[in-house]
């Protein structure tokens, strides 16, 4: 039986992962910001691939694309954040919007206007994670994230 790893611990690990992406002199200016985001997205991608590969064979046999996305909203989100996404919208033409009103990697921080630029750093890994999981399922995707409002 696999050991459980706790959400709080994972969130704290994620914060250190973000710090690592901006360590080693990568951190400054726009270029530095982008370089770090690329590192984070790449890490998330490999983790997402690894996760999908380790699931039992039948678990990912989805008949419809929408079922795959629902898997991400329920099972993947559940595994990472201990809950499901709050909303899912689609244009039925291949674009899906997953909405989380209380994204755990952001709620931990004390936010003010000046930290708005920090938010992408805390979204990049998760974007990669989704893209990597989808990739293992044979789906090529582009995953981006935006923050519409910060927690008070």
């Amino acid at each position: 039986m696999p050991a459980m790893a706790d959400e709080t611990l994972f969130q704290l690990l994620h914060t250190q992962v973000v710090a690592a992406a901006y360590g080693a002199g990568r951190g400054s200016g726009d270029e530095g910001l982008r370089a770090g985001l690329t590192v984070l997205e790449g890490m998330g991608f490999r983790v997402g691939q690894g996760l999908a590969e380790r699931l039992p064979q039948g678990a990912l046999a989805f008949r419809e694309e929408l079922d795959t996305i629902k898997f991400l909203c329920r099972d993947l989100w559940g595994a990472v954040f201990g809950k499901q996404t709050d909303n899912l919208r689609t244009n039925h033409q291949g674009t899906y919007i997953l909405q989380d009103n209380n994204f755990p990697f952001l709620t931990q921080m004390a936010w003010g206007q000046q930290y708005l630029e920090e938010a992408p750093k805390f979204l990049a890994f998760t974007c990669g994670l989704l893209r990597g999981t989808l990739s293992s399922l044979g789906i090529e995707s582009s995953v981006t994230a935006s923050v519409t409002s910060l927690p008070a």
């Binding site: 696999p2 706790d6 690990l13 994620h14 992962v17 595994a79």
Partner: protein, 167 residues
Amino acid sequence: MSSELFTLTYGALVTQLCKDYENDEDVNKQLDKMGYNIGVRLIEDFLARSNVGRCHDFRETADVIAKVAFKMYLGITPSITNWSPAGDEFSLILENNPLVDFVELPDNHSSLIYSNLLCGVLRGALEMVQMAVDVKFVQDTLKGDGVTEIRMRFIKRIEDNLPAGEE
């Protein structure tokens, strides 16, 4: 899925650090520092959720670490052995270490202490409850040992209540 998520993410972190730092010693230091930063925050979560009271001595501390903390966060219960005669040192024996599932150390990283994050976590967490400790791996299944052994040594009680800093 979530324990694999942790293991895979940790692996990705170590891989990235190995890319960024030229030698294993620097990676070990980074892992320890990151672990410390986690530990100083994790302790609050632990105290809030576990309801354990203040430990009266190092033996109680050992029990809480092995039976409550490790169980809560990593789902394993290490055994406690090899107490020093003075009662200030003991070992945690992990039959299996969730951080190293599916991990193999490549040949050119023989000095890497892969799970060194754990040492920092323990050190940081205990510092927040006024205990200065030294924590290190003495056996590692990744290096061919039969078990993973973490040695914990009590240094002293910390009297000042300084706020947790980032290392």
